[in-house]
């Protein structure tokens, strides 16, 4: 067993012999697909239903999307919390931080600038970005 304490490649299953096909790996992908289909179907239903409060639909869609991205990461990309995938998780955490800073920071700054924009006298209100 040459299994030293190495990191695991992203996308690889935890410490399996690579040459034998294991039926449990097939089930991992199948479970991932079923959960992803369920979440996608819920997203499409929530966007079209009139049963829900429209303000809540927006938040619900965001939650469903983040949940589905998590499902893809765990079941398709095999990102785990195990010790052999620490580097992968750390890189992912840094990526998520930057994504959050870019998106939330942009929306915050631009919304703030838009709210504080000086409208020259006589200019139409349509100079504001809302239309």
């Amino acid at each position: 067993m040459t299994e030293a304490r190495h990191e695991r490649a992203p996308g690889d299953r935890p410490s399996r012999e690579m040459h034998e096909s294991d039926p449990s790996e097939f089930f991992v992908y199948t479970i991932g697909l079923s959960v992803a289909v369920l979440l996608t179907a819920t997203s499409f239903w929530a966007a079209n239903t009139t049963l829900l409060w429209p303000g809540g639909v927006f938040l619900g869609l965001a939650v469903l999307a983040i949940a589905q991205m998590g499902i893809h990461l765990v079941f398709f990309l095999h990102i785990t919390s195990g010790p052999e995938s620490t580097n992968n998780v750390l890189a992912l955490a840094f990526g998520v931080l930057i994504v959050f800073v870019v998106i939330a920071g942009t929306m915050w700054i631009v919304a703030d600038m838009n709210a504080n924009m000086m409208i020259p006298s006589g200019a139409p209100m349509s100079m504001r970005m809302q239309h």
Partner: protein, 210 residues
């Protein structure tokens, strides 16, 4: 004090640490490097998502998302990409156990679904352009075509990459180098599906419900 005690209690026959075991195998180094690239690619998509969210209401009197988007098309596109991600996963299982037939079958289904996705997207784009909703029409449409088009471009590149990989499997067989590349391809394809989850939620579903 407690730290020193805890270190003393580590069993001596544990696995060697990573530094004692020498450099990591090529497979891990290659896949980790590609993982870093994918994360940087996702950060680029984050910038496009941010600009889209800022510009989504700037339609300049032109058509809005609710008037342009067809949810049935988006649902079929989503299904294609999701199932192709699944078949790509099954293909990587066949690659790991060195089964030629399973690899070719998985690649063929993945390719067919990817082409269907791309065809539907191009048809959507051309029908939008036909009614005057071009990227030049408004800031909203510029941001839309940049974001969705960039994802479509990635899918197109992934399809070309898949053809190249199947040629390499046919010519070289399952040598280590080809296996590393196939691992990178499956990472790339799964990452594209994750980006698409963001696209269909933010662009299409929030666009028609808001």
């Amino acid at each position: 004090m407690n730290v020193a005690v805890a270190i003393d209690q580590i069993p001596q026959d544990a696995l060697p640490s990573a530094s004692e075991a020498g450099p990591a195998p090529k497979r891990i180094v290659v896949a980790y490097g590609f993982w870093i690239f994918l994360l940087s690619d996702i950060i680029m998509f984050a910038a496009l998502f941010a600009s889209y969210s800022v510009l989504v209401r700037s339609t300049a009197g032109g058509p809005t998302g609710a008037q342009l988007f067809n949810q049935a098309t988006v649902a079929i596109e989503t299904a294609c990409l999701l199932v192709s991600s699944y078949t790509c996963g099954l293909m990587s299982l066949a690659v790991n156990s060195r089964r030629h037939f399973g690899t070719y079958l998985g690649a063929l289904i993945t390719f067919a679904l990817g082409v269907t996705f791309l065809g539907l997207e191009l048809r959507e784009f051309s029908s939008m352009i036909a009614i005057g909703a071009t990227p030049q029409r408004s800031a909203f449409l510029s941001a839309f075509f940049t974001l969705v088009g960039c994802h479509g471009l990635h899918v197109a590149l992934g399809l070309i990459w898949l053809i190249v990989m199947m040629v390499q499997v046919a010519v070289f067989g399952f040598v280590a180098k080809v296996q590393h590349r196939l691992l990178c391809f499956s990472l790339f394809w799964h990452a594209l599906d994750i980006v698409w989850v963001g696209v269909f939620t933010v662009v299409y579903l929030m666009g028609v419900s808001a």
